[in-house]
């Protein structure tokens, strides 16, 4: 089976994905708190004109993340 895992920061806007894991660092608890926990679905709603930050739809709302934060989230593409 091919490994479908990728980083959130590599998704294209609109591509749906499910969170597989989050890198172990101090950002992890904050990301979980904001609703980014394994098993949760998400997609990128928009990327700022200069390539950062990212806005994602997760846990029923829209969240903006900087690149270094988005890179901590490992996801699997859904479609």
């Amino acid at each position: 089976m091919p490994n479908m895992d990728t980083l959130l920061s590599q998704l294209k806007p609109g591509e749906k994905a499910i969170i597989k894991s989050i890198a172990d660092n101090p950002m992890k608890t904050k990301l979980i708190e904001m609703g980014c926990f394994p098993g949760e679905e998400l997609y990128i709603t928009k990327i700022a004109p200069l390539g950062c930050p990212f806005a994602i739809y997760v846990s029923g709302y829209e969240l903006s993340l900087r690149l270094n934060e988005a890179m901590n989230i490992v996801v699997e593409r859904l479609n």
Partner: protein
Amino acid sequence: MILSPSNKDLNVVLLGNPNAGKSTLFNALTGLNQRTGNYSGVTVDKLQGSFKYKTNSVNLIDLPGTYSLFAKSTDEEVAVKNLLTDKPDVVVVVLDSTNLQRNLLLATQVLDLGMRTVVVLNMIDEAIYQNINIDSEKLKDLLGITIVAIDSRTKEGTEKIKEAIVNAEVSRNKFFDISVTENYAQKINSQFEDPNKTELQKWEEDDKIYRYKNVKYIYSLCVRSPEQLKLKERSTKIDNIVTHKVWGYLVFMTLLFIIFQFIFYVAEYPMGWIEDAFIALSSFIKGNLPGGILNNLISDGVVTGISGVLMFVPQITFLFLFIALLEDSGYMARASFIMDKVMRKFGLNGRSVIPVISATACAVPSIMSTRSISNFKERLITIFVLPLVSCSARLPVYTLLISMMFPSTIVLGFLNLKGIVLFGLYILGFAFTLLTAFVLQKLLKTKEASFFMMEMPVYRVPLLRNVALGVLNKIKVFVFDAGKVILSISIILWFLSNYGPGNAIEEIEKKYVDAEYPHVGEADPNYYKEFIASQKLEASYIGHLGKVIEPVIRPLGYDWKIGIAIITSFAAREVFVGTMSTIYGANGNEKGIREKLLSEKDESGNLKYTMAVCFSLVIFYVFAMQCMSTIAVVKRETKSWKWPAIQFVYLTALAYISAWITFNILQ
């Protein structure tokens, strides 16, 4: 006699996620019965209010917004510590009904503390509008607590909340993993004591994931919404424009331009009225109260000082009016979104743009407006560099000095040389604003971990009541906190420039008023008046101070007269022009001062105000923190004298060195 348990003062707190509409509810419950205070040791403002319900009087605190009980910022720490150490009688957890999943995380944590709690489903109107159907009866059973669904914008339902607060109970249900711990409150408290952060962090992650599982279950039973995993159409439509790579910046620039126009030009009218009113008051006191030192103190020192404080109110009002509108509508998060990457390179934040632009009018309101930057380090950097942006008070100083350097109009093609120099001074200020921020970002270490993730709130029409109360609180904070410092310093400056050692000043009075020089008065009464004023200033404490600092400023090309003007202009930079006018007896008009200064000779008979001296002075004013109000407001915003002190030393050193280099190159 029976003592009813409800017959006492209740201490109640409002707790909730940022953007949950907590302040709207707070305003609806307390109205004008609110005040801003301080939490000890931190820069967070404490918003308190009160209301009466039947026989109960309730003290309400609007705690800073927090996403969970594990604090991730100073604001959140204040909220959590208040809950744990002050132990309020009742906690009101405010939830955003349109964003229930994430909001319920905090609610379950609070319920597990075992305190009397009320859960408010806020913005229920917006949820209905978005077709989100919440079964509040079922939610009440599952959470085991009183639930009140309201739209706090229309004050409807606030009576229901008041009733629920008075009758609040402790939830019977538990939401933490009881196999892990029995005392949740203790575990929460350990984040402030336990040095072993890694172990606690692991525990915290597990706790949140466990809770989210619970929350998702509760959510699935109580909430029916037709559109899963989809953004609201209205928000998307607006965002397609305001975060667009062309239109987004265009919209933002237009908004900045409008704000700029208001604080730069429109605010001048009410500022003029305030000034005129206080001048009238001052001369009324002079003419109608018995003369003497007390009269002078009140009419000149105190009244002028208060006028100096209130002069800032129009700019503060306009700036905060706009900021509140942009913030409450949800637009500010978008502006921050498109500006973040540019500003971050300099250690600033997407939200630093408005403060930086408004600092071209005045640093005082713009420093106050950095409140919206939630990251402490980025906020501090923004505050630190704002006085480098050339404000409107520098303009009269620039204009005078530039016209002295280039008395005739020199036009290069279609460009006016004076205009180019003026523009260059603004660019120089901006360049050092960014450069200083860039360096500070590398130097500054904060113990607070930095998170930048932020919610993009849904768009809402701002509520006038919230905007008005927000602006009112800002004005109160400025007038009563920073105002005290400004008033004290201006009274000290007034005293130093009107009184001198011994009876030197009285002697001048006697000498000239006793008509020893009647011919001066006959020639030109105004000249005579100005001449006395100039003599008095020289004899005053400030006159002496000017001479004391002369050796220090001589390397920059300045003499004691300029020294006096530098000291008095600490009140506000534009005072430099007025003081120079007094010293040289130029009767206040700009052409007059310019001519007087340009014909001034030094001891050896050469012209004194050379290109080198003027340029050195103008560079000094680009950088120097010559503004007591800025210092007062930085002290108020950082809650210590440490930052204004460091800032003052840095900016003065920068000004001194740059002026010295300029003088020596041009001489």
